[in-house]
Amino acid sequence: MSITGMTALELGNKIQKREISVVEATEAVLESVRRKEPSINAFVTVDGEGARKRAKEVQKQIDEGTLTGPLAGVPVAVKDNLCTEGMPTTCSSKILHNFIPSYTATAVENLMRAGAVVIGKTNMDEFAMGSTTETSYFGATKNPWNTSHVPGGSSGGSCAAVAAEECPYALGSDTGGSIRQPSSFCGVVGLKPTYGTVSRYGLVAYGSSLDQIGPIARDVADCAAVLEAVASYDTKDSTSVRRQDLDFTSALKEGVSGMKIGLPRDYFGTGLNTEVKEAVLAAAKKLEGCGAVIEEFNLGLVEYAIPAYYVIACAEASSNLARFDGIKYGYRTKQYEGLHNLYKKSRSEGFGPEVKRRIMLGSFVLSSGYYDAYYLKALRTKALIKQEFDKAFAHYDMILGPAAPSTAPRLGENLDDPIKMYLGDIYTVSVNLAGLPGISVPCGTDKAGLPVGVQLIGNCFEEKKIIRAAYTLERTGGYSRSTLAVLDGTSERGK
């Protein structure tokens, strides 16, 4: 098997055994990026020089025996909203097109400690606002399964890079589905951990109370291993949670016998594409075949999740994005008269339309006179949604549903209709509102050959349950990576 066709753990294993050197692995990955980027555009920045230098250092540490972890020497791509010292971090926005951070995000530092070689930064919807990666200042990323389709978003670059075998795994961030939905569209595995599991320090904030960093990989084992490496209690993040159960790879066991899995009726109603529905229900059947108890149930308040999410996320974003003003760093307008005009022009020219829409929406719901009616009500709704999930998890070990109502839409299809795009987040946003972990695992394709993902939602701090179920589904579902090998002629699988 070629280097780029391997999973992160397969590659890491060969590096530990000295069958492949870190430099070789890095070169293979960079070559794959070089060849595929013209058609995929998954990256904003590729740092070949830095990666080669880093590869040598990592190899030295492996040779000295100071780096022995399963991910040591394995190349990784990082979503461009995670700060990387000395490497541009643009959030795919014009306003940060030239921004180079002076520090590295904790999650990336954790990966570096595990021996990761960062090859570059992946494309995304501008400031993670979008579900298609089309709002990027650096152009849309294409879905590797069919380049006239979107990869999903906002972590579209990370998911496309992993799917196209431009790198074995990547980091993404998920505020309302931004890991799980593009993972579903790109046929990869993406996990959004329980809020507070991965430090947000160094993640350029969108909706601070909802943002979580998570792994994107080609299989469940990689996802568990990467999550184990990035998760940490961090004193630099007040919302970080001290957990003792970060050994996520211990959950990589087959078997769901006796597990109770709930299927919310509202997740399978109108608006869900029939082919997606069939594929997701088939996945549920497979788990049932493995001994799980599958039950339909009524999850309350599903219809309130999207409005509550957009009010809260936009309110926080309107404040989080205030610092991008053209004063200290980033884009500054060429000509201006006075301070107010400098702010206004820099921000008007520096932000794209979707970001502006959300800043305006967020500013509005926080304005005096509207705060109670919108923001406060959304916070109350958030608390009620959490209660609905608490009730569900009193009966079920996990919840199963689709990650998105459809497979990847065509490029440009959603851009003109923001409401349509927002409604696409129906199955993912409540997970963020409730702070729960969720994983999207490939479970089939539609007639056009585009991937479908099934989403497993766990109770807070119960990543292990969904990892185990996802692993079981992947292993026993008769669904393997080789059946996904239709990568628009760019795949190296099976060669």
Binding site: N81, L82, C83, T89, C91, L96, F99, P101, S102, Y103, A105, R200, Y201, G202, L203, V204, A205, G207, S208, S209, T235, K236, D237, S238, T239, A315, E316, S318, S319, A322, R323, F324, D325, I327, K328, Y329, L339, Y343, S363, L366, S367, S368, Y371, Y375
Partner: protein, 479 residues
């Protein structure tokens, strides 16, 4: 016959807390360093950086709240105050609006008429300071120094309970002393570690409802505050008397011109879009933490006043001066503990120290000498190693450069000569050279002995004990 007016005043006092590090990061709070040397991604508001609350800030805020009789909010939160300005690196300030840490307190102040009055505290909240803008008129541009950004502040909001500039000064004085005694801040108005904004309105005497108020900013001294209050009161009364109306607005005081001008009115007041900061978790304050802080409360002025009189036997006047600043009280207590003679310590502080402070136009806060050196000086004088004239001279150096008295006396040869033989020879010489005075003394003019002591001291270059000299002279003249 003009109407009688009453002035209604409430204060918003910002106090910079004396923590070593900033409120949400580990950067130093030291004042006066090169621009942007005490900064990090957090206090410079860089993308992705997150705030982490400094525990000491909470403890200082609680300590001040408890000393001011406030209730502590056991579940308190931080909110973001959103506004754009270049000294504000995130373009929002982390403050407290919805659940401030302290509420509903107050202190008693002494009024001019000798009475007592209660001034209520509405709330105290914690927040971060902004950076400093430096405008370079020459270059035509502005620079930002973020060293001050993130320095912890508390804002103490009083109720509109004060009625005159005197009451305001009494309130501020008391507030300042309490905070200084707590060690929570040095409260220097000039340096900006204590800033007061004055909310003022006037109403006809006997009226129930308040008039329209204005808020006065940029008040950098107690004198400026008094002048601004007087000026604003008169401005509002003149407005009303001439049939006009007071506009609710923020005004800026210019102390040189003794005049204020409107900065912004309520109509163009900003909507700060406050909302709970999602980067900071709910702050839960337990009863045991409150008790712990309570247990650490120092002895305040009222208790000290009583103790200085009963324990040290100091007169009320001295006790009042010594407790008038934390600096003097600390110095007095530390030196007394070292020397064991509080009365003498008090004399040095009340006498020479006060004289030199006045002479140099300094405040007690500016005292730099250590209790150790004052105690050492008292010991030298007590043991007769130096006489009182030399002691004053040496104290001058203790005061000015915190000189070590023992070393100073040694290096400058100021020890009182104890050698009786040497003194005897000098006295003999003085008797021989001043026959007239000797005769005067023998004729019963007691005063003449003083002149002879003086001549001997002069010959000894001051290094003799005048008492011993007098005794020796008397003895020798009686022979």
């Amino acid at each position: 016959m003009g109407k009688q007016y009453e002035t209604v005043i409430g204060l918003e006092v910002h106090v910079e807390l004396a923590t070593k590090t900033k409120i949400f990061c580990g950067c130093s709070t030291a004042f006066g360093s090169a621009p942007n040397t005490h900064t990090c991604p957090v206090c410079a508001g860089m993308p992705g950086a997150l705030p982490v609350l400094n525990k000491k800030v909470v403890e200082y805020a609680m300590a001040v709240g408890l000393a001011l009789g406030c209730e502590i909010t056991k579940n308190c939160k931080f909110d973001r105050k959103n506004y754009f300005y270049p000294d504000n690196p995130q373009n929002y300030q982390i403050s407290q609006l919805y659940l401030p840490i302290c509420k509903n307190g107050g202190i008693e102040i002494e009024t001019d008429e000798g009475g007592k009055k209660f001034v209520g505290i509405h709330e105290i909240h914690m927040e971060e300071d902004a950076g400093k803008l430096v405008h370079d008129e020459w270059e035509g541009c502005s620079y930002v120094d973020f060293n001050r950004a993130g320095v912890p502040l508390i804002e103490i909001v009083s109720k509109p309970d004060m009625r005159s500039a005197e009451e305001v000064i009494a309130y501020l004085d008391k507030l300042r002393l309490i905070i200084q005694y707590l060690g929570a801040s040095d409260c220097k108005l000039q340096e900006g570690s204590m800033r007061a904004d004055v909310n003022l309105s006037v109403r006809e005497k006997g009226r129930g409802e308040f008039g329209t108020r204005t808020e006065m900013k940029n008040l950098n001294s107690f004198k400026a505050i008094a002048r601004a209050i007087e000026n604003e009161k008169n401005r509002q009364i003149d407005l009303l008397e001439s049939g006009g109306a007071v506009i609710q607005e923020t005004r800026r005081w210019d102390d040189l011109k003794e005049y204020s001008f409107a900065m912004r009115s309520k109509e163009d007041a900003k909507d700060y879009r406050y909302f709970p900061d999602p980067d900071l978790v709910l702050l839960q304050i337990t009863d045991s933490w409150i008790e712990e802080i309570k247990g650490q409360q120092p002895e305040f002025r009222t208790e000290k006043l009583a103790r200085y009189q009963s324990e040290y036997g100091l007169p009320l006047y001295d006790a009042e001066i010594l407790t008038g600043t934390k600096k003097l009280a600390d110095l007095f207590e530390a030196t007394s503990a070292l020397s064991g003679s509080p009365k003498k310590v008090s004399n040095w502080l009340m006498g020479e120290t006060m004289r030199l402070l006045k002479e140099n136009g300094m405040d007690a806060e500016d005292i730099r000498f250590s209790p150790e050196n004052l105690a050492a000086l008292i010991e030298l004088a007590d043991k007769g190693v130096i006489n009182s004239t030399v002691a004053k001279e040496v104290f001058g150096h203790v005061f000015a450069e915190d000189a070590d008295p023992k070393r100073y006396v040694q290096e400058h040869g100021l020890r009182t000569v104890q050698d009786e033989g040497a003194l005897h020879g000098v006295v003999e010489q003085v008797i021989k050279e001043n026959a007239k005075s000797v005769q005067d003394y023998k004729d019963g003019k007691e005063k003449a002995i003083g002149f002879l002591v003086g001549q001997t001291m002069k010959a000894m270059k001051g290094k003799a004990d005048p008492g011993a000299v007098k005794e020796m002279l008397k003895g020798m003249l009686a022979e």
